[in-house]
């Protein structure tokens, strides 16, 4: 079983729709939960970062974490064509020496159609 599971899609929705992206995980030691956006032929860029269970909002984006179910979500409201990208969930636990290690999901390829 993979530590982090993410539906690869692809997901295609019309402009203005609400998008829901999800990941599940198996390692209860994960403490930090992130969503990255990756445009084609670019490196991932951090979108949202959460530490505890609950919701965190940033503009049109809302990240949700449910540690009891080991489930995280990213919601995009009023989706725009510029949101078309691959969305990666990532989680971190602590290595030795206090360092942290990111474990990524497979990524969901999202297309917003004008």
């Amino acid at each position: 079983q993979k530590e982090v599971e993410q539906d690869p899609g692809p997901l295609s929705v019309p402009e203005g729709a609400i998008v829901s992206l999800n990941c599940t995980y198996s390692n209860s030691a994960f403490q930090y939960f992130m969503w990255y956006r990756q445009y084609s032929r670019k490196g991932p860029e951090l979108l949202m970062y959460t530490y505890s269970s609950g919701n965190k909002e940033d503009g049109r984006f809302t990240a949700q974490v449910d540690k009891s179910s080991k489930y995280i979500s990213l919601f995009i409201r009023d989706s725009q064509p510029s949101d078309s990208a691959t969305y990666l969930c990532a989680m971190s636990g602590t290595l030795g020496q206090g360092a942290q290690k990111l474990v990524f999901g497979q990524g969901t390829r999202l297309t917003i159609n004008p």
Partner: protein
């Protein structure tokens, strides 16, 4: 602030040849990471440096991959000899501290092994 720089951007080699990738992190960033991203998958951590010391290289195939970070700044990742399954994007990232939320990615080097 300049981002993480990587070169070359693209490389095509034949199996059993050797190849090297270079990364220049953001100025002042002590932690440097190399990831492998196979098409359709999320990035997988290969090696993490703190200054010029290795923090984690548990997923680095050490029979063929090597990495160094001289003087705690630039880093090179080498593959020798390359296999077909090494075809991937190699991403370099850096962070100011060992907290993953401050990790910034470079554009990656796309490697194709024929």
């Amino acid at each position: 602030e300049a981002g993480v720089a990587q070169s070359p951007r693209y490389k095509i080699i034949e199996k059993r040849q050797s190849v090297a990738f270079w990364c220049n992190p953001i100025s002042g960033h002590a932690t440097l990471y190399w990831y492998q991203q196979i098409l359709g998958q999320g990035p997988k951590l290969l090696i993490q440096f703190q200054n010029n010391g290795v923090v984690d290289d548990s997923q680095l195939p050490k029979d063929r991959f090597s990495a160094e970070r001289l003087k705690g700044v630039d880093s090179t990742l080498k593959i020798q000899p390359a296999k077909l399954e090494d075809s991937a994007v190699y991403l370099c990232a850096s962070s100011l501290a060992r907290t993953v939320k401050t990790q910034y990615f470079g554009p990656g080097t796309r490697l194709l092994v024929l």
